[in-house]
Symmetry: D2
Subunit: 456 residues, 4 copies
């Protein structure tokens, strides 16, 4: 996490596993397991910085501090533990909920943030670099605790959901519902409905309109510049860049790179996206036709083996390769692990691969997602998702008994618009209100929804 305080100064705890160490907060609280409770103060600062950039969730915090819609809600959380999630967690608590939280990924925990949450008396379980065994141990700790009977799950990837279902099926059936944000987790939920084995309602946050419109396009517009600068300090002006894929991610990358004076070329398989690239002023070519001249190659396709050894053999000396797409398989990194090539780690997340003739290419993050590995996800965009999650939790918690069944639901369009409106305040944006006349003319209600249901 660039820019944040490095942990080295307080990592003296060393190699003993957090599970084996007894830690205590300044107030004597012990129901947690983090890397080092002493780093809480640094984590608190990161949380405060995140709060500044999360206007939507902060508005909800103020609003729900009074009427406490989650009073007596008990939520099992299983997400990345970062400064931004911390803002969500503390807002859930302000709204009346009690929570227990586990990390959904063995690498992604910001240790000092986890410490800051624990220091506030929140049962949080997870640390960076934990083992697979630790991972499930943390989920167990979050989901099973004495007399604490959860009524909601906030999941990312479906692991908490499936763990509960497998191990504590009775408790699982009593839940009021699940809120899931990831592609994978949503996929698993739909599988369950197909097999008729989802006994409780679930909200699919991943396919909400606000997420679709804002996440990829705007996040990647920022992240592509940020991750390349942080790793290589390259100057963008005049650089020739090949962007593979002109979906939302590709569009965001192209827009940012042009803004910095780079020349972007696009590859596409879909003629519709290809024609958009043309109309937006980008030359559409094939990898083979561009690979000898470009300075940077960015993958954003969702496909596999888009950049292969045959391409990398032809790249210019010093060419940078960076993956911004969905998987770690867009660049065929395995093909670079041959005896004739030398790998040199030159900086954190940066390898030089050296050909026998001395030519070197610069590989970012070993082909994993550069935007997640080398850049911070903008808190502002996480705020949009966090609001959606919170509203979905409240919706499930407050719903009339038979409103939702054992099925997967999308957030109502109106809530999408509400989440968007929460984020306008930060921009001093003033939305126009319709007159009665105009409502009638357009056939919409004064407060929306303004777009048809099929709108994306």
């Amino acid at each position: 996490m660039t820019g944040s305080y490095s942990e080295s100064s307080y990592s003296s705890a060393g190699s003993v596993s957090p599970r084996e160490r007894e830690q205590k907060t300044s107030k004597g609280f012990t129901d947690f397991c983090v890397k080092n409770i002493k780093s809480a103060e640094f984590g608190r600062r990161e949380i405060e910085i995140a709060e500044q950039e999360m206007p939507g969730i902060m508005i909800l915090r103020v609003k729900y501090a009074e009427n406490k819609p989650l009073q007596s809600a008990r939520i099992i959380g299983c997400t990345h533990i970062t400064a931004q999630t911390a803002v969500l967690i503390e807002t859930l608590i302000t709204a009346g909920a009690s929570v227990r939280w586990a990390a959904c990924n063995i690498y992604s925990t910001q240790n000092e943030v986890a410490a800051a949450l624990a220091e506030e008396g929140i049962p949080v379980f997870g640390w960076k670099g934990m083992s697979e065994d630790d991972f499930w141990w943390c989920i167990e700790k979050a989901s099973n605790h004495q007399n604490w009977q959860a009524n909601l799950i906030l999941d990312n990837g479906g692991d908490a959901t499936h763990y509960m279902k497998r191990k504590y099926i009775d408790k699982f059936r009593c839940l009021k519902g699940i809120v899931e944000e990831s592609v994978t987790g949503v996929h698993r939920l739909y599988q369950m409905t197909k097999n008729n084995c989802l006994p409780i309602p679930a909200m699919n946050i991943n396919d909400s309109v606000v997420k679709g419109k804002f996440d990829n396009l705007y996040c990647c517009r920022e992240a592509v510049i940020d991750s390349l600068k942080k790793t290589t300090d390259i100057m963008f002006g005049g650089k020739q860049v090949l962007i593979c894929g002109y979906g939302e991610v590709g569009k965001g990358c192209c827009s940012a790179l042009r803004g910095m004076g780079a020349i972007a070329y696009v590859t596409e398989i879909d003629p519709i996206c290809a024609l958009q690239a043309c109309m937006d002023g980008f030359k559409v070519i094939r990898v083979d036709d561009a690979i000898r001249i470009v300075d940077i190659v960015i993958t954003a396709t969702g496909n596999k083996n888009v950049i292969r050894r045959e391409h990398m053999n032809k790249m210019k000396n010093g060419c940078i390769i960076c993956n911004m797409g969905h998987t770690n398989s867009e660049i065929d990194v395995d093909s670079l692990r041959t005896p004739d090539l030398t790998w040199e780690r030159v900086r954190s997340h940066v390898d030089h691969i050296v050909w026998p003739d001395g030519r070197r290419i610069v590989l970012i993050a070993e082909g994993r997602l550069a935007n997640l590995t080398c850049s911070n996800v903008p808190s502002f965009v996480v705020s949009i998702t966090a609001c959606t999650q919170m509203l979905a939790l409240i919706e499930l918690f407050k719903a009339q008994p038979n409103k939702y069944k054992g099925d997967v639901y999308l957030l109502p369009k109106k809530m999408d618009e509400y989440v968007a409106s929460l984020h306008l305040a930060g921009f001093e944006a003033q939305v126009t209100e319709l007159s009665d006349d105009q409502c009638q003319y357009l056939g919409v209600a004064r407060n929306g929804p303004f777009k048809p249901n099929y709108y994306r």
Copy 2:
């Protein structure tokens, strides 16, 4: 039609209605009714210019000249008669069809183009400024002719469709289908299916993906600059412009204006579009808060009375008002027809409205659509729609007897992609082909469709 030859030089025919004059082509053909057959040569040049900018339909013309998929198709056409439609019409004929054509609008006919079509022996009926009575007379001439039994209708607005159904129901039932491109026409078709009175299949071209992605955004990006320059010669650099609405039209306008150094402000009713405007770098405000400072106001909402007398009372001296939206009701022009205000027609399509204190505002096209009135629709974008129309006609004509019923159909996604691909050639764009491996990984066929059906 700016830039084209003015008609004055050959309009000596004067005030006698074309219906009452006998006209003959150089080859003695008389089955047509246009303003002045002598202007054919000028029309031919306009058609040639349009052909240069319509790569997709010209590729189809070459391709279908051989296998003639419309051999023995007989098409009633009812559309705007412009250079671009002429390119479509002549391509349909090259593909084997015989056609009879009527204007779908009493104002939009390019007289010299109609003459050029007639000169080629095409039965075409329509002229600029014809009466309502003339309008229906033309449709009658196009749809009813001796032994010529139509089997397809290409409609824009539904008038030919409804005329046929009302007057020649038996012939109507024998049609292989209808292709309809307009919002209104599509709406009327859906009404018919609701009432169970559409006996034959119809293709809804208006909602095809290529139309949605390209028409509004890219047409308006060009048209906003063009129509304001042609009417007012205003300099855009540094001008403050209020764009009401941030849908596709508004997005296109904002993008073009920024490119010319103007400062764009946006109004929106929908928080999602408002947030997009923010993220794209445009200030979102209300009309009231901007109206005193802006130099240009553009409406692009689809709503009515967006700019009202109360706003216009506050505008700066010289402020320009221009409608780029869907209707002629976005600007409340009626409210300007009061005794205290003076109207001065200063140029074609430009009125100055003068307040008692001498302040004047500049109204473009009396509030009608500036992009259609004061600018030419780019041939390139019309080519996309024309290809879609042509493919839909062939699909209906060639379909197995029971494939389509009395219902409204969308063009298959794959045809959308095909139309897009036809237009890539003009940009020298090279689409990438998937390997077998990648097809399998993505779960798509090598030639597409590449996007799910619900993709928009």
Copy 3:
């Protein structure tokens, strides 16, 4: 002049030369010679439209209406007679001057504007399409009139200056000075100082900082889009455009074209400008390497024979060629006048040149300056020059007897800044004032000049 009222309606005066017709204004004034005094009303409207876009000169008009700094100044004007010059002329008169005016070009007079000036009792001499003989007759009429002894010349090209000097040397010696705006005129003045034969002071307006910073860059950014749209209706999105030259004109063209979604390529001879093009994100290539793929070629070099027959032989069918540079020799148009090629005039200012194989290229304005021929110069930018001219006239008129000698002077830097400031009002721009402390720190006076003298 696109968009303006055509003259056909009032050109019944027909082919009799204006010099041979007696014309009278509605008030009986006859000391003028224009095409048709009856078109005055249309010209007045064009002048009013121009006033809206000339904030600087209109501010001076209000300011100088009171103290009349040009009281008893008698100015011989010899410039293009357009709506914008009319605004300047009427402002000079408001400031106390009496004027006599001749056209500086046989083609550029807006006849209806000349009529509008005459109608106000201003002695104006010139019409569109006059002969060489007429031209000098008009200058004679403007410079020699009974007891009216001029004390200033406002010249464009130097013709009035040289006519006076040659024919009325005594009167010439009595002038307080000359203000000259054109490259050519300035060149001729410097020649005179070299030869020691300039007896009176002259102000070189052409090399003022405001002109250099604003004229080419911002005018051409607007004009390139405008002139191509008005002549060809081409869609810019996705088009590949070759811009020859990356000086101010080329920079303006590239910026506008990118803003509309075109892909711009640049040619340059100067490595410094070439490197700027690179850093701004434009590919720098040679004409030969791009000529087969581009859709539009724009010359902006100031050089000759930049596009030659050998290039045009290789262009794509439909490629457009357009000159935005300084001369009419950038495109070797003569090389196209060979028997194997056919010229077709397809629209006003548009020729198709057809190769034996049917391929056609589209030549704009026969290679003359497209921005002047096919587009209107933005009134806003003319306002900057007009203010500079007016201030220079006042400076010469009011100067202490020995302040200026028989030499060519540049406008003081401070006046440049004043002219700029006059144009900020139109943009609601608020300039910041320095505190005493800051003035001292920077070593500049509170009201400027803010930049050193060598600043360009």
Copy 4:
């Protein structure tokens, strides 16, 4: 230096001053003084990364490896010791020079790079965080060494020049010349010429055209995004940013911020720059009128106290303040050191200043230059300066005895163009060559210079 290997792993040498420790390279060389010779390998990697982005200097290295124009040149260098300077130093040596090098700043040395140079047997003296006394000791070591008599100085700031002149005036008089790149150093040289005490020629690199055109504009376009991301991770999309000053730095910042979707406002004192901002589409306002709404404030004026306590008192909670201008006095940081405000260091180079009511503003780098403190200067731009320095050194070294006197010289325009051309290769840019005909027409030589001497 973000992204580079942290030193913690090899800093065990601890608090003993480098001057007091004996260090030896792997080959037994000892004529150097750096922080820790063991970090040489890390430094070598940073140098290799820099080489990739410095095409111009690398071309010169290859070219001069053969004819060795600096054979028997002995250069005293006194500059920042960074990876980029290391590339220059090693190129000078390849060209035949022998060098001795001292740091020109007590903070800016990249210790591992200094180690890498020493490891190659280069006498280099300097380390990060050295004292004032150490600083002069290093210059002494560089300039005075046994029988090594320097004949050139490459200086940055003038300290080596003045030290030599003061302490070793005889040796100083024997130098062939000085090359100086900084504003300060150049100022001091001009002072010396004024006082008639510069006995040898000096080249002013700071005012070369290539430096002026590329350094500020393009460096700051990159640095503004980079330094704010690295310190605050802020999302730019939709943010309102106030840029104080629209010179080259301000222009670069505005361009980059717009490219990322931010809304930029500009303040200016000079009407000419203000009008440019308007024409480029930025609103020009006063600090007071914007300060309550903006999210980020950037100073780029060269002035002092542009942002004062009175402004900061009104800023929004979370507003970021960042200086990109010339001095550390643009933001009145002293005014924030009052008892009522609390300073919290939240990250490296980031302080929160907390008001009594809880509102906090975010101050970057305590008001020092953010682009230098929080971002890396792009190697590409340093390459331009480095080439200029190298060519100037060769010019002085090779000049005929009386060509240059005791005066300050500018680099000939032609060398400016040569340096630019060296950097085009990296962009695959192809410059066009003039024909004889065209040379004659333009009045320039085939290989330039292409612009007049007064061109800037």
